[in-house]
Each structure stands twice: as structure tokens, then as C-alpha cells.
Symmetry: C2
Subunit: 187 residues, 2 copies
Amino acid sequence: MSLKHALLGFLSYAPMTGYDLKRYFDQSIHHFWNANLSQIYPTLSRMVEEGLLTMEVEHQEDRPNRKVYTITGVGREELQRWLREPLGLSPLRVPFLIQIFFGGSLEKEEMLARLRHHLALHQERLAAYQGPVREVLRQNVEATGLEREGFFWGLTLDAGIQCEEGWLKWCEEAIEKIEAMGDGHDE
Amino acid sequence: MSLKHALLGFLSYAPMTGYDLKRYFDQSIHHFWNANLSQIYPTLSRMVEEGLLTMEVEHQEDRPNRKVYTITGVGREELQRWLREPLGLSPLRVPFLIQIFFGGSLEKEEMLARLRHHLALHQERLAAYQGPVREVLRQNVEATGLEREGFFWGLTLDAGIQCEEGWLKWCEEAIEKIEAMGDGHDE
DNA sequence: GTACAATATATCAGGTCTTATATAGACAAC
DNA sequence: GTTGTCTATATAAGACCTGATATATTGTAC
């Protein structure tokens, strides 16, 4: 289970609450793995049962108590073990390509609209990766001083950018090909 | 729910059993959407309840009866509606990048091993897309005569290829960068 | 001729993830 | 002044998906 190991990873930097962890997810690995609080909380509880984490309650008066999670020795070992484990390729899940696959019955203009919309979404995402997302990463390296770690954080962002560039190129080529087609349902 | 619409898509070509549908999935959209039989069967049942499909049992003596599913008018309408619906970008889920992200604590050689392994997997997959997968697609177009549909089937395969090429480039660049690093745990 | 894989069909248990809901203070908008 | 949104914390219901299991025939390997 990858979520478990992502949580171990962040908790190997410092003890945190589920809410803190969610913020780290959103800030740093959101471009290749997301998680909801409603998924993080029960997973943390399970990890305590498994001995990977310990939990301490910090009382607060004005809002719900903070449950601070700390990684155990067993947790660190498990993280190290998993980091060395060879993983297969993760299957893709792209609903948009289902629309394309069965798009034979749509008119040419409708298909073009779909593709142009998708192109715009990927352009936006690419711009975010190259701008604000890269910037947050840089700030995190500066704030923590984790130079070596930061190098690998950057690598994952490079992967996201490479991916987006691939999608952009594909969208552009697909649009060209469809524009070159005859009108209506034939070519 | 995308699975539902993928099933509607295939059933818009011809009536089929769950088992048949699984074969189509594996043959044609496997590179961007997969589904198990254990997921397909209950989904088909639900779709009958929703009025999107009808089911007829064909008795067989030597093996379990065939349950043949046929798309209804309502089902066709729902498919057409969905094909025109703008979709957001699907979030990526790449466990391998979690390993990279938290890989700062691994030795250089261990990281290189991870990346080279991953590179080989993507090379394999790219070769499959360019060879056998493309060939099966061509045969399906020939067998069905669905020229226009085949064009869109091909587009989805192009997307898969583009994606794989992006990954290959990323892996190669990452390997170069890490090789250029000093030994041990620094810089 | 016996073991193993593939074809053909399907269910069930359980794990993962999403969506909706709950509480409560602070702060901004209008 | 009240509506909305943000910070901060968490649970519950249910949808979605994976992995294991079941059965019976046909074909392949040794």
C-alpha cells in the first residue's frame, strides 16, 4: 500500500498530525499521489496498531485535540525496506481517453472542442509545475536544508513536467490530424 | 463512473457477456484503463437495474450459462451524453515516484538500480505498443471495417506511446544526473 | 497418462478511496 | 450582522477495485 509508505516518508522527517500530513501531500507530492483526510486518518490509526507509529494526544481548548503521530524504529525499517523494493509499472487510468476511444460517433467539431479543452488543462498544469510548484519545492529545500532530499523531490517534478509535455504534444498532433480530416463522419 | 461508460461503449458495438467484455478491455483499452471480471460482473448487473442494459441467459450444458448483455436506447443516450461531457484531468498515481521522492536516504547505486529497472520496464511497454498492440488494433479495424472508429482507437494508442517516450526520456536524464553526482550521501 | 495452462463463466471478502457530514473559532466580504 | 471561506480536526457511508476462490472443459507439455 503506497499511502502507508508516503505517510512513513513524511513522518520520517518529523512527527505530525493527519492534518499536517495532508498539507504536505498537497504541497509536495500532489502531482503524482493525492490523498484525502478521510483516507489519511484511518490509515494512521491502522499504522499505530501495526506498530509503525505511536500517537500522542495534545489537548486544545478551543478546537479538537491534536493527535500527533511519530514514526517508530519498526516504521523506519519498513520504510527503508519498501524504498528498495522493485515496483512494477502503475496502470494508467485516463477517463478522457475512453471518450476519445468511443468518440467515433461524435462530429468533428465536438471532438476538436474536447481536445482543445484538454490541451488548455494540460497547459495550465504545466505552467503550475514550472512556476508555483517548483517555487514551493525550492522554499522547502531552503527551509529544511535537505539538499540531497531536495534533489530527489525535484526529480519527481521533472517527471510530472515530462509527462505534461508529452500530453501537450499529443493533443496538438491529434487536433492537427482531426482538422485535416474531411467534414462530417467520413474522411 | 468511467467503467460504466467503457462498458456502454463496447456494448454499443455488439451484445456480449462479461467475459467477452473483459477480452475487449484487455485487447484494446488496456493501455489506459483496466478492469477485472470481478468488477465488470457486478457493474453489468447494476446497469441492468438502471435500465441501461438488458440481459438474456443462454443455456449451455457443459459450462456456466452465458449472460448476454444488450445496450438499451437509454444506454445509448447515456453514452452519447457522457461522450460530450467535459472531463477534468485525471490525477496521476505513481507509487514509483514516492520511492524516488523519499529516496534521499538510499545509496547512489541503489537509486541507479531502481531507475534502470524502471527504464527497462518502460522500454518493454513502448515496444509492445509499437508492435503487437498496434497490430491487434489494425486487425480489429480490418475485421470490423470501422475505419472512422479505428482512427480514434489509434489516437489513444498514440497517447500511450507519447507517455512512454516521456518516461524513457525522464529515466535517462535522471540516471545521467545521478551518475554525475559525487559518491556517498552528499551534494 | 498426468500435470499444467488456457478457455469460459462467475462470486465473495476485504481493502482502498471518495463524498458527505460534523464541530468550532477567526477573519473577510457585503 | 450574516454569509462565506479558511484553519483545524475528525468520522461515516458507500462506491470502487483487487485478490482469492469455484467449476468444468479443452488443449499442450513431458
